[in-house]
Amino acid sequence: MKQPGPEKVIKEQKIDEKWWKDWERRGGWRPEGWKIIEINDGPTLNDLKPEKFLIVHRPHGNLFHHSYGKVSKFFTGLLEGKLYGTKCPKCGLVYCPPRAHCFNPKCRLAETQWVELPKKGEVHAHTVMAIAWPSMAHLQPLVGAMIRIDGTNTCLPMTMRDVDPEKVNIGLRVNIHIEKQPKGDLLDVYATPAEEPKPPKRTPEELKRFREDMEKTRAWVKKTFGAK
């Protein structure tokens, strides 16, 4: 027998300890404020009575120390500007998201091997987020696409840039990019069109509605975050 440790740090980008400690101390469950409200309540709409409730504002936050496990190479790859997937030596399926073990039932959880992937692919399905995560709200309307990277048997969800949301469609060829200053998660990856997009079929009413939706979304972004 042998002990697995001690662990050696090969490379590190440290977090700002002071910034986190401050947040952690304030997010410590003690109420920061409260309100007393009155509203009708009861088990059915035919059975409502006025009730008073006290509501406290209780903060809480966490910092997770998360390992990417045996597929860490995908993310260290991003830090080096490279795209990696894994390939099963038995059945040949290529995974991105990578799996350390093949999920083809025939392969009895065979260990996979790393392969570098081309930065090209195709839209398998898509959407336009008029409401994105708060950290990305300034990018609304934001195209999200399930991208099948060339040579893989999976789709990797990613956002798209430099594309008119109206024109994104299934089958669109894309180039895949990695952020110049990657942080080490999937948001470092994005796609742009590799060809002139052919928009999906829309009725005149659908097209009018779509354009109005995009205008409204852009107007909100401009109002909230200012002009670009």
């Binding site: 059975d47 399926l93 399905a125 987020m129 994105a132 999976t154 956002t159 659908e206």
Partner: protein, 431 residues
């Protein structure tokens, strides 16, 4: 040992957001209604008579409380009673019912009380969405920039591309669900928006969330609780003269990440008839069914439940359906995956009026997730309760709306699922 599991009583403490009432208080409201319906049932007898409790709630994060079911169990005065919790995302409540039914069938317990609830107003809506979204893969789905809405939206975009579903189809589903909820005193939509009918134009006026989905086509976030008292055949007949039977249960699963489905070798050849249905204008993936168009887990769960219940032709034998519809397109996909029509033809059943309240196959009579509400752990229990009230002819009494009671109905089908169809369950109810 008989396979029959009976529903002795069912109840709902209404969906709304916020409710402000605590989980344990809403659960107590629901369980009190069961006690009112079954005067012979005594909470103090659970240990003596060997009954158990099965609790259903989704998230420990929404109010930062782990093991909430210990609070509920204690609050209901059921300490010492054997209890367990089921959690499987959106599939939690249907999974709880299936588990309870199987425990009764095993002969271990003559009866199981199923209680489900959720609190969803404590965090701001974006954080609630986050708590739901981390039921997706937090390394590969959640951090891609996709909201949960976005994943379902890409799947619907695929259905539009492959099957020719339209934005109007989605809006019509939303209209059906919302208008179905208007006389439902447990529904959130009328509690918040009043009692007038809506039209397709109203759906179009609701804000775009993630194309093609608009606000009225997405589930509400809700608070509420519901309960079912299930028992073996002998005890059911002793406690009620109006029993409904759970004659079939089934469950199935699919990949965690929707993106892993198109070439998934586990599905290849499983449903050859469905693989053949594929349009010429789209290159087929290696496993054309379910791809991102359909929900394979729904299919597996439904066929298992039908087999269990001896249902040979679901389209002919099932009289009413409640589909777990976090997004409108799931109603159309579900109709296909549950064998009510061939894949791609869900829109036809909608357009032909088949799933309208007095059509051949009424669907979403409660209003379902977009209008009755979606307090996750309570959702499918409430949908089962709604179908149970229909089959046992209690809508007049329970809703105060006798005109909504269907007649000549024998069998109902209710389904639930979690994630992007990562896990699904189904039950068949019979008079």
């Amino acid at each position: 040992m008989t396979k029959k599991v009976g529903i002795v009583a069912g109840s709902i403490s209404r969906f709304d957001n916020p409710r402000h009432t605590l989980q344990e208080e809403m659960c107590a409201e629901a369980v009190r209604m069961i006690l009112d319906d079954v005067p012979e049932l005594e909470l103090g007898d659970f240990v003596k008579k060997g009954y158990a409790c099965c609790y259903s709630y989704f998230s420990d994060i929404l109010e930062q409380q782990q093991c909430m079911h210990w609070i509920i169990n204690d609050y209901l005065g059921l300490s010492a009673v054997p209890c367990f919790r089921v959690e499987s995302g959106g599939a939690t409540p249907i999974d709880a019912i299936i588990n309870a039914a199987l425990w009764i069938r095993s002969g271990m317990f003559p009866a199981v009380l199923v209680v489900g609830w959720e609190k969803m107003d404590e965090l701001p809506i974006q954080k609630v969405n986050e708590a739901i979204a981390i039921a997706g893969d937090t390394d590969w789905d959640f951090v891609s920039g996709f909201t949960y809405n976005a994943f379902y939206a890409t799947m619907e975009a695929r259905r539009m591309h492959v099957y020719g579903e339209t934005e109007e189809d989605l809006a019509e589903v939303a209209v059906l669900c919302h208008n179905n909820s208007l006389e439902n005193p447990y529904a959130q939509w009328p509690a918040q928006h009043g009692f007038s009918k809506i039209m397709v134009e109203d759906v179009y006026k609701s804000r775009l969330i993630s194309w093609p989905y608009r606000l009225h086509e997405c589930a509400m976030t809700s608070e509420g609780a519901s309960a079912l008292f299930l028992a073996n055949e002998e005890l059911t007949k002793k406690l009620t003269d109006n029993p409904i039977w759970i004659t079939g249960v089934g469950f199935g699963s699919d990949t965690m990440r929707a993106g892993d489905r198109p070439d998934n070798p586990a599905w290849k050849g499983l449903y050859p008839e469905d693989e053949k249905i594929w349009p010429k204008h789209v290159p087929p993936p290696m496993s054309p069914y379910p791809d991102l168009c359909n929900f394979g887990a729904l299919r597996v769960s439904a066929r298992m439940a039908y087999k269990d219940a001896g249902v040979k032709n679901p389209r002919k034998e099932i009289n009413l359906v409640e589909i777990f519809d976090p997004y409108a397109g799931v109603v159309l996909a579900g109709l296909e995956d549950f064998d009510f029509c061939k894949r791609g033809e869900g829109k036809k059943l909608l357009r032909d009026g088949v799933i309208q309240p007095f059509g051949e196959l009424p669907c979403q009579l409660s209003g379902a997730l977009t209008a009755q509400g979606h307090a996750v752990g309570s959702t499918s229990i409430a949908q089962v309760v709604d179908v149970y009230w229909q089959l046992s002819n209690q809508i007049g009494k329970k809703w105060g709306a006798p005109s909504r009671q269907l007649s000549n109905i024998k069998k109902g089908f209710i389904h639930g699922h979690g994630g992007t169809g990562c896990q699904a369950g189904a039950v068949v109810l019979e008079v």
